[in-house]
């Protein structure tokens, strides 16, 4: 079966997780992605935040670098840079998250790159975007997330700000999307260009609704965490604990539609004068209703509510842990989660492919390569260098 991006060649000059994932998304759908690893500087420190202790399988690398080839070059030497530039001259896209200053110092600025290949597309993922006073701050997701304001709104009042790490995942897809948009334009016009996105942008878009509301309304309530028992709608948004420590959440914004079923499930009188209209439920009596629901949900275990929700086809859920997708058939048949066999470490699970294409599905062709695993192959097959030339680089 053919792939969607089968004729595309991408040079992946990234060191951050999001940059790797952006290029991997193209590789998953068939692009030939050559990951260039710089041996002239110390390898990037893995697990710098300490949050992935003692992993047998480098899980992030297995997601961010699958389906790629790896070539090791000393980019601190002219010879290494020269090989990189030969690679770029034969490629469609250079994708990079290196600092702008380093790109310039290595002759990888757009003008110089155009000299190598006039219609090159340069897809740059930075920390804070190409303009502005902070363009040169490092591309660290935590820094970008801190600046965006969403962290300060999550959780209960008085708790530490919450870092989820999801902003960088937005950035990764935005970078891949931007590169493809430039390719679509190039197909029509013949011209390449520079694509930019940043961790800052990705985090801003992951905060989209609250952030946009703040821009429009400027209310302090949007800046701060709101207690789960102070939500706008007792039947949409809050979480309630069950007797076994598990939690449920409700998503029934149209409370008029759901009230007859919901009141029955909760053992409430449908005509309870405190809650018999949407206006009362979401207005004057919303706090009282949330307190009451809090007392009712905790009387039963999560499994009880899960069964009730399912039987009555309610828009309400037991809140799961990662154990759920790990054992979920739905995630498997749609290939969101894959069961794999690692050549050195045996069976393991990995995230799969978030997009289904009927004619050109994503495929796992290879696991993440070792550093420099394909150096010889790329130099010989892709650049056509003979043994003597290869040895010199």
């Amino acid at each position: 079966m053919s792939t969607a991006l089968g004729d595309l060649v991408v040079i992946d000059l990234s060191t951050e997780f999001f940059g790797g994932v952006a290029a991997a998304l193209l590789a998953d759908f068939g692009a030939r992605v050559i990951r260039v690893e710089n041996t002239g500087v110390p390898a990037p420190i893995k697990n710098r935040d300490g949050m992935r202790p003692q992993e047998v399988i480098d899980a992030h690398a297995e997601l961010a670098h699958r389906n790629k080839q790896s070539i090791a070059l000393d980019l601190e030497t002219d010879e290494g840079l020269s090989v990189l530039k030969q690679l770029i001259a034969r490629s469609d896209v250079l994708m990079t998250d290196l600092p702008f200053a380093e790109q310039d110092a290595k002759g990888l600025d757009y003008e110089s790159l155009c000299g190598l290949r006039a219609d090159i597309i340069v897809a740059r993922g930075s920390g804070f975007g190409p303009n502005g006073p902070d363009r040169d701050l490092p591309a660290i997701d935590e820094l970008a997330a801190s600046r965006v304001g969403l962290m300060s709104t999550l959780g209960e009042p008085g708790q530490p700000p919450v870092y989820s790490g999801t902003g960088q995942m937005h950035t990764a897809v935005m970078l891949a999307f931007g590169a493809l948009m430039a390719l679509v334009h190039r197909a029509k016009s013949g011209e390449g260009q520079v694509v930019d996105t940043s961790l800052f942008a990705g985090n801003m878009y992951s905060a989209s609704l609250d952030l946009q509301a703040y821009l429009a309304v400027r209310a302090d309530r949007i800046l701060e965490p709101v207690s789960r028992l102070d939500m706008g709608n007792p039947m949409s948004g809050p979480s309630y604990p069950c007797s076994d420590g598990r939690w449920v959440t409700l998503a029934m914004p149209d409370t008029d539609r759901w009230w007859p079923i919901f009141s029955e499930v909760m053992g409430l009188d449908i005509d309870d004068p405190r809650f018999d209209t949407h206006e009362k439920r979401c207005g004057d009596n919303r706090l009282e209703m949330m307190q009451l629901l809090d007392e009712l949900f905790v009387k039963q275990p999560g499994s009880h509510w899960e069964k009730e929700f399912a039987e009555k086809k309610m828009s309400a859920d037991l809140i799961e842990t990662y154990d759920y997708p790990a054992h979920c058939d739905q995630a498997r048949v749609n290939r969101y989660v894959l069961d794999l066999d690692h050549p050195s470490h045996g069976e393991f699970q990995s995230l799969g492919f978030p997009i289904m294409m009927s004619d050109n599905p994503a495929r796992l062709r290879s696991m993440a390569p070792c550093r420099g695993q394909h150096t010889e192959e790329v130099l010989e097959d892709f650049l056509g260098l003979d043994a003597d030339q290869r040895n010199r680089s």
């Binding site: 190409p130 600046r147 996105t197 821009l215 706008g232």
Partner: protein, 403 residues
């Protein structure tokens, strides 16, 4: 200036957030996006009136921002005549985008089989809740799906309630994922001339969004990645959130001896540097709670800005943890077009909106208009695209195919 997606025509039959965000990305870069809405009621997002129990004010920023740069065409897709009219539009379109459920898709004769028979070049895109395959039947608002992924129970301090990552957080991610899928199918169509079916589900996107912690959980099965980890037990105390005299800050320093020593110098924390419990990387990791407590006490003495300045001078990454208020005034956001100002005709004034998170140097995106009024382009689209005469349009109105 030319636009990257000029000439691309998208029939956007989506509601609420994920689908409209997906086509917003395309519209920002020049695609002609026609938001197809149900007559009279329209996209239910038009009815949003509050957020966080606050009135949204005199313009509906929820709907108007994600539907910017689009046209609106009202058509009753439930009627056979509406479907026949819609097929004529499909014949001249590149992308069909849908997020109103697979059952309605089939019931209203809009399946890939039906539409590709009308136009084999059509790229038929669904944003399902949980994927096109499988038997799972569950509601699929953003929070329903987020609850399934497990990411909510991973956030916050131990014992705290699960945390939803913000209104539309998963929908926004599903939206960009869908836009990416559309472009891949478009890129492929350039080679083959054939369209295909694409699905970017909310569940698939949200699982991928959880990758930073879900991927290591899947690979290792270790509970550590699935549960709440207290900041007072962070394995690397130098990469952590700290409360200063005023606000919180994020410190991002690797746990090396040089890194620790540079940090203590910058903070003037000589006694922490000299403490034998923190003598090397392994000691700092195993005595992490003690080191975090020591740093907590130290950081409480000064304001975040003072600490971050001192750290910046030493080349150590750190940032105050801000609120939307500081962001709204942040030149970094404005100078990169991540925020834009545009005219709002509902209030007759300039408003501030989320801008362009992806920028292209030669074919930049732009915001020309905020979201359209319901059905405002119905007649003009039918005349220009389908060459209809006014009498035919009147006849469609009389039969309530269009309003």
């Amino acid at each position: 200036m030319s636009k990257a997606l000029e000439g691309l025509r998208v029939l956007d039959c989506t509601v609420w957030f994920q689908g409209p965000v997906s086509s917003q990305y395309l519209a920002d870069f020049g695609a002609e996006v026609i938001h197809i809405e149900r007559p009279v009621t329209g996209d239910p997002a038009r009815g949003v009136r509050s957020i966080k129990a606050l009135e949204i004010g005199d313009w509906n920023q929820y709907f108007l921002v994600i539907n910017r740069n689009k046209k609106s065409l009202a058509i009753d897709l439930r009627s056979e005549e509406g479907q026949q009219l819609f097929y004529k539009l499909v014949a001249q379109a590149d992308v069909f985008l849908w997020n109103q459920g697979m059952d309605n898709l089939v019931k209203w004769n809009l399946s890939y089989e039906k539409l590709s028979a009308v136009n084999p070049r059509i790229i038929h895109v669904t944003n399902t809740g949980h994927g096109q395959k499988g038997t799972l039947e569950k509601p699929s608002f953003d929070i329903n799906v987020q609850a399934l992924t497990g990411i909510m129970t991973r956030q916050g301090e131990p014992g705290q309630p699960p945390i939803y990552l913000g209104m539309g957080s998963g929908d926004a991610y599903g939206g960009i994922m869908s836009a990416f899928g559309i472009l891949m199918a478009l890129y492929q169509r350039e080679k083959t001339g054939r369209g295909q079916a694409v699905d970017a589900s909310l569940y698939g996107a949200q699982l991928f969004m959880g990758a930073p912690t879900l991927q290591p959980y899947l690979a290792s099965g270790k509970d550590f990645y699935a549960k709440q980890i207290s900041r007072s037990e962070a394995p690397n105390p130098l990469w952590n959130r700290y409360k200063t005299q005023d606000k919180w800050m994020y410190l991002c320093q690797t746990n090396t001896d040089d890194g620790f020593s540079a940090l203590c110098d910058a903070l003037g924390a000589g006694s922490i540097a000299a403490d034998s419990r923190f003598a090397d990387a392994a000691a700092r990791e195993s005595n992490n709670t003690e080191l975090i407590a020591a740093l907590d006490a130290h950081f409480a003495d000064k304001r975040a800005e003072a600490w971050c300045d001192a750290l910046a001078n030493a080349g150590i990454p750190a940032s105050p943890i801000e609120t939307f208020k500081e962001l709204a005034a942040d030149p970094q956001a404005w100078e990169n077009d991540y925020f834009l100002k545009t005219w709002c005709s509902e209030t007759d004034e300039e408003v501030e909106i989320r801008g362009l998170p992806v920028t292209l140097s030669k074919t930049p995106g732009s915001v020309e208009t905020l979201g359209p009024e319901l059905g405002q382009d119905t007649e003009i689209v039918l005349m220009e695209m389908l060459g209809m005469e006014w009498e035919e349009i009147e006849a469609l109105k009389a039969r309530e195919v269009i309003p």
